[in-house]
Amino acid sequence: MSTLSRPGTVTTSRAVPRRLPGVDGVWVAIGADAVIFAILFGSFMQARLHNPAVFEASRHTLNSSLGGIDTLILLTSSWSVALGIQALKRDLVDRAPRYLLGGVLTGLMFMVSKSIEYFEKFTQGIAPATNDFYMWYFTLTGIHLLHVVFGTSLLSYLWIRSRRRAYSSLQRVVPECVASYWHLVDLLWVVIFPLLYLQKAA
């Protein structure tokens, strides 16, 4: 981590040094993941192009209110983790654990919500093999759910370590890396939700 300007970087008018949170490698991984998801979104739309009626009929079986609540959960989770990083930057090391715990609990809430949704689908006899739409629905939400599980595990580790006062304004590389990844998980869902649940047919 460097809080100093890197050679050649531009500073703002308030002379705030421009920097990336965490380490550069994490941003390469985040960028690559974002590009992969963009390709998946394009592939989904291409599949929809060939069979819009099936996609529209299948979309109506999804619970858009539950999907909206999932979005609210993840946005709140991201906010809580962002507050945790702000607390560390100001050396409020006693406050950081509670915000990180907020991230963990909301991550768990998302997992419970998705489990309920999957259970509903399976009890209705809906599976990935049912049709192309459901194949994409389970693929996109499933890969995203794996991201949530991984991210919640990382946040749990951060929470435990932060309770032992392992992080501070000068030692926040790992929290910043995990937080950046967690925000990626959030923003991917911000697109997946309308793509699958809200996209009406023309």
């Binding site: 890197r6 920097r19 609210l72 983790v81 702000q86 959030d186 697109v191």
Partner: protein
């Protein structure tokens, strides 16, 4: 550190309101499909942009990195809308 005065809190409130508008407003039958879809994905792109700028702290990132990440929601929303209008 007052949570209410934090910029991330203001952004979070805006994102929550935008999500409610999209989920329980635009997606209903009040609007034509094209208006609804354009609105929904434009709002999604703006939401992603704010998550990047304020939660991921890209507002203060080196300009080329910020520009590359900020292009993502624009390209993704344009691609989705392009396919949507091309679909019969």
């Amino acid at each position: 550190m007052s949570v209410l005065r934090e910029r991330v809190t203001v952004v979070w409130l805006g994102l929550i309101v935008a999500t409610c508008v999209t989920t329980w407003g635009l997606s209903k039958e009040l609007f034509s499909p094209s208006v609804a879809v354009i609105g929904i994905f434009t709002i999604a792109a703006v939401k992603v942009s704010y998550v990047m700028l304020d939660f991921m702290e890209l507002r203060h990132a080196p300009i080329p990195v910020r520009a590359a990440f900020q292009a993502w929601p624009v390209v993704v929303a344009a691609m989705i809308l392009g396919f949507w209008f091309a679909t019969p």
